[in-house]
Amino acid sequence: MNCDIESRIKKVMANVFGVNVESITEDDSTDTIEKWTSLGHMNLVIALEEEFGIQFNEQAIIELISYPLVVYTVKEVLETEKVT
């Protein structure tokens, strides 16, 4: 299940940043991916929200700056939405 979330995130990121799914690793962040600019970031948020049917709050949006943080934040939002 978790693994599924990660592969979905990778697929979204690949689409948004125009890179190969396989090339995305734990080390990737706004520093390593060329198209992860402020605009790329906005597209990432829109694409993730669509993929998982969720909505990030402002704090979460600001934290989405590396692949591990994206995974962490998406899971967190999904957990919270399950509880409520």
């Binding site: 979204v12 689409n15 402020s38 906005m42 597209n43 829109i46």
Partner: protein, 593 residues
């Protein structure tokens, strides 16, 4: 992937991004390219994937640029800005005022200040650019106060309405340069909640949600498509359960559902009304039905509620052959490219078959929710056009005559004998003011026999006509079957004692009759003597999949290729070759009566 049926409703943002990436990686050669420049006071960049998605799907390459934030005035005033220097084909002026900013901004104390501001902006854009300018309406907050206080802008949606009304008036008065896109229409369609993103507004100055951006991109790309000449010319219709409910061959004239009052017949009646409107605008109406022909004609001739009559039909294939083959034959008969055709059928099988074998065609299926049928074409923005003129209306008549001509073509073995018997008459003269609209339209619509594929507006044609070293010839054609109207254009420039052929095109209605040789030779001789040039002549042939006939034509005339870059081929003419005989064509000069 280029099938309209699959694209219409459910493409997600992720799928759009995937498609755009795919296109940009593989770089297919679209022969249409455009430049859209955004002048904006907020972050509009997130619209880019949507816009690219719709334009790439229509095989149009797009270059998108943005002004700096709130730098609209500097762009207009600086002669080296993108706006002035590059003269983008489209300028999208996107102005958004969040309720809190509208009048708190020191520049505008009240409504009339703001009115003056936007109008000055529009006017200077009209003056300083040649672009088509897309502007927008302003969105009032739907969370206004219950009681309206004159001091509180939240409580005054009427202020926005006044402003929008005023902008609308301005846009209608400048319709050739300005197009108004109604942002409030998107909000009505989507609700405010799905339109405005207050979160992103405060974080990134990006006020719109993806659903809103999608609508905005649909409108912008539809306008681009209209201007870039992806114009639909012909509507091909199935009959049973498309033009009426039920099956005429089984139910008979009395039992099919077609009625000007009762459900569900009224739905088909309204749909037929829309088809008649298209007919009146010059769209060719064609029937393609698996049926006995006499049954179908019986409905058109005798059903009291059938608005569609025999005389509306430009061509028909009512038989039991497969529809893809039928449509291919129709396209050939009417001399139309597949991408100018629209096909409507109720059967998923037929829709699938046709779009599989003819991917360029636009296929629409009769909706399962039948009440949506009358809006089908409007909703998909098919057959919209920026301008209608008289020649369009005559077109069906002219195509019906073409069918007559084809029937007689079969009786002749020798093509020259046949052409002689047509009594072809040409009238060639320097283009007149009254012809500029039609000439611009021809440059925009003609894809097959078009040398340079340069698309011009009426205004540009007018400017050419005032230019001393430029000549525009118009060609009128008629034969024993009827009048084809203004069907050919030749634009030439005197470039330091060389004849440069800027444009040479003929409507597909008059091809393969050797008219092109007569038209070219005549204009060429006129230019030589007017400008005192011997034979030095050159041109740029813009090669596409559809204008291959031009290549043969240039070779026949004796043009030789000098240079080649991408799809541009520079050709030069030193000596006109001996051409096929065309002395049976009668040429008149001067005013067409």
């Amino acid at each position: 992937m280029n099938n309209d049926v699959e694209f219409t409703r459910t493409t997600s943002f992720n799928e759009m991004l995937g498609f755009v990436n795919h296109i940009e990686k593989n770089k297919p050669s679209f022969h249409r390219t455009t430049h859209i420049h955004f002048l904006r006071n907020f972050t509009i960049e997130p619209i880019e994937p949507f816009l690219k998605f719709y334009l790439y799907s229509a095989h149009i390459n797009v270059h998108i640029t943005y002004s700096d934030y709130d730098a609209i005035h500097t762009e207009i005033l600086n002669s080296d800005s993108t706006l002035i220097l590059e003269q983008p084909e489209f300028v999208v002026l996107s102005l958004f005022y969040h309720v809190n900013d509208l009048f708190s901004h020191s520049q505008y104390q009240n409504l009339s200040d703001l009115k003056n501001y936007v109008i000055t902006l529009y006017e200077s854009l009209i003056e300083k650019t040649k672009s088509l300018i897309l502007i927008n309406t302003f969105i009032p907050s739907s969370h206004g106060t219950l009681i309206q206080h004159s001091a509180d802008i939240d409580g005054l949606p009427a202020v926005y309405e006044q402003l929008n009304y005023f902008i609308n008036e301005f846009a209608s008065a400048h319709a050739s340069r300005i197009i108004l896109l109604d942002w409030n229409k998107y909000v009505r369609l989507l609700s405010e909640e799905k339109s405005i993103d207050h979160r992103y507004w405060y974080m990134n100055k990006a006020p719109f949600k993806k659903e809103f951006l999608n609508q905005y991109a649909v409108d912008i790309s539809n306008i681009v498509k209209l201007v870039k000449g992806q114009i639909k010319k012909c509507l091909i219709l199935d009959c049973d359960n498309t033009l009426w409910g039920g099956i005429i061959g089984e139910d008979g004239l009395e039992k099919i559902k077609l009625d000007y009052y009762e459900y569900p017949g009224k739905i088909y009646y309204d749909f037929q009304q829309r088809i008649i409107n298209l007919y009146n605008r010059g769209i060719l109406i064609v029937l393609c039905s698996k049926n006995n022909a006499e049954d179908v004609w019986n409905v058109l001739d005798n059903h009291p509620a059938s608005l569609l009559k025999r005389e509306h039909i430009a061509a028909h294939k009512i038989n039991w052959n497969d529809k893809a083959t039928n449509i291919k034959e129709i396209a050939e008969e009417l001399n139309l490219g597949f991408d100018s055709l629209v096909f409507i059928d109720d059967s998923a099988f037929e829709c699938g078959l046709v779009s599989k074998f003819i991917p360029e065609i636009t296929v629409l299926q009769v909706p399962k929710e039948l009440y949506l049928l009358p809006q089908l074409l409007l909703k998909n923005k098919i057959f919209e056009s920026l301008n209608i003129n008289e020649a369009d209306k005559k077109r069906t008549l002219s195509y019906q005559q073409e069918q007559l001509r084809r029937t007689s073509a079969q009786q002749f073995v020798d093509i020259e004998e046949y052409l002689k018997s047509l009594n072809l008459k040409l009238n060639i003269h320097i283009a007149k003011d009254s012809e500029f609209a039609r000439i611009a339209q021809l440059t925009q619509k003609t894809n097959q026999f078009n040398l340079s594929l340069k698309r011009y507006t009426e205004k540009e044609i007018q400017q050419f006509s005032q230019c001393e070293n430029t000549k525009i010839f118009s060609l009128w054609t008629s034969d024993k079957f009827g009048d084809y109207g203004l069907t050919g254009v030749f634009i030439a420039k005197n470039n330091s004692n060389h004849i440069y052929i800027d444009s040479f095109l003929q409507s597909c209605r008059i091809l393969s009759k050797r008219i092109e040789y007569a038209f070219f030779t005549y204009c060429f001789e006129q230019l030589k003597s007017a400008w005192d040039i011997t034979t030095n002549c050159y041109t740029d042939y813009f090669q596409t999949q559809r204008n291959g006939q031009i290549f043969q034509f240039l070779q026949m005339l004796g043009f030789r290729k000098m240079n080649e870059k991408d799809n541009f081929h520079e050709y030069e003419l030193n000596q006109l070759s001996l051409l096929p005989n065309f002395n049976f064509i009668q040429i008149n000069e001067g005013k067409h009566s």
